[in-house]
Symmetry: C2
Subunit: 318 residues, 2 copies
């Protein structure tokens, strides 16, 4: 099979690799589309190694494709099934072996490329908002960096949970597209960075950007409010005014899926399968797509991922 491989600090090339072996509990998937994520670039720079058990040098954290072969003990899926999954690496290739318990069914009518953009962003959003923070109908939720892949998923999952969402988006050209993420008549209130305070207080702030000033937003929280720290590409260290945290009796919750054990990832996939995939199937959630590239245009795909002004997911089509 062909795969994108990391061959040095920050550089990729296309290579021929052996097809993955289909051991017990594993499923071989013919990849039709695979999502790109910032973590792919971090991994290429050597900052973010793949977890054990996954290809160490093939990027790609989410895939959509067709089951080709199932390993011993796999009974839930069979050859020909359309599946998608959040994986630990190896997605930017023609084939991948995935533990069966991580597979999600692709709803009828969803394209490969939409399905490829679903697992990472929506698993992250559901886990953070619903599982970790316990978002509730009526909560006021601020999402920073709301135009990105995870951001658009957060806005939709929060809205679907009945929260009133304020989305902070840097590029004003994207404000309307983020506003349109809400169902007709629903209310995503879009602001520019720096204006978030005008809509305070919040029950929950989802931090997807990071940077020096991001923890100042503790002062925008309601009593017992929470900040979920999910993305910090804009700066990973920030001063915290601990007295603000104390007076608000607030919580800062860090979360990431990458470092979890296989059992925890299987548990998350199970909750996504029962809680989130049905919302995707009935059209309450959708996957905004920014651009799609064939596998041999991997360099253009990663450049698009790293560049500004995206709205939604960048995907590769092996």
């Amino acid at each position: 099979m062909r795969a994108v491989v990391i061959d040095g600090r920050g550089t990729f090339r296309l290579a021929e690799r052996a097809d993955p072996a289909v051991g017990p509990g594993l499923v071989a998937v013919r990849v039709h589309a695979a999502g790109l994520n910032a973590a792919d670039l971090q991994q290429a720079r050597g900052d973010y190694p793949a977890p054990p058990g996954w290809p160490a040098d093939i990027p790609g954290l989410e895939i959509a494709g067709e089951v080709e072969e199932v390993g011993a003990g796999v009974t839930d899926v069979r050859a020909g099934d359309r599946v998608m999954a959040l994986v630990g690496g190896g997605g930017h290739a023609e084939k991948i072996a995935v533990p069966a318990e991580l597979l999600l069914p692709i709803p009828v009518g969803l394209s490969w490329r939409e399905a490829a953009g679903f697992p990472e962003a929506f698993s992250t959003a559901w886990d953070a908002l619903v599982v970790q923070a316990g978002v509730r109908a009526g909560d006021r939720v601020l999402v920073t960096g709301a135009a990105g892949g995870v951001g658009t998923a957060m806005v939709q999952v929060a809205t679907a949970s009945g929260a009133r969402v304020v989305a902070s988006v840097r590029r004003t050209a994207l404000h309307n597209r983020v506003r349109e993420l809400a169902p007709a008549g629903g209310g995503v209130d879009v602001v520019s960075p720096g204006q978030e305070g005008e809509r305070a207080p919040y029950d929950l702030i989802v931090e997807l950007v990071g940077g020096e000033d991001c923890l100042r937003r503790v002062e925008l929280l309601r009593t017992r409010g929470k900040i979920l720290v999910v993305g910090v590409q804009g700066g990973a260290v920030a001063p915290l005014r601990m007295v603000d945290l104390m007076l608000a009796r607030a919580q800062l919750i860090g979360t990431t899926i990458r470092g979890r054990s296989p059992a925890e990832k299987a548990l998350l996939a199970a909750t996504v399968r029962t809680g989130v995939v049905p919302l995707l199937a009935d059209g309450r959630l959708r996957v905004p797509l920014d651009a799609a590239f064939p596998l041999d245009r991997y360099a253009d795909a990663y450049a698009r991922l790293a560049g500004p002004g995206k709205f939604g997911k960048v995907v590769m089509l092996p």
Copy 2:
């Protein structure tokens, strides 16, 4: 009645004041002993105003004494009852009016001065460890600043909850006294600041000191561990490495009792009455006393409070 009053920035004097009025729901208490807290000094400096409904210029956040008179509608206590309470201010006086729902019964055999040192430290410890953080038997808990009033309470409440406690204490002369807070055979492991990492990882870190480096301790947490930020006198702003928080899926929880609503304070008193006072009554918790001063030696009392090397509570005896 006589009371200590704040008459300028950081200074106190003794003054004659009218006895407090005993309105509906209130109870007049003849104060026999009152605890001192760092917040008294912060209040005197103007940094920490008393909450509404409490004397604005009389310090003192916890009292023990005898009920003199009850207001309309009070049925749970009567004249002569021995009571203690966490109050919003006004404790460093001969008399105080306290909402009946804040009163705790003083166990038989406990002295006035021990009772006066109980409410603030043990309500704070119980609320933080049990209510906010949900400490469980078997948890590894680090308490910084463990020799102070709140620190000794945290060590005891954590130990009584079945946790394995590591206490960080700056003055080595106090290490043995902190070690002896555990029941015979129990395990409080006492270390000096900087050595906490040798006992890592922790499920829970109780921060009672603060300072520039305190949030680096996120790296000492177990996965899904928590830091409770309860005291930050050593420095209220610290940098947080958000990636550490994310990878550990850790939580930072700020908490303080001061700013809570009267209803929340009554709720806390009710949980302390049923959960903590029985542990004090049966000797599983005790109140270490550092020093006691008559009311007219208020200046010596506050100086002792502000000075180094204390072990346990400083109290005043009006």
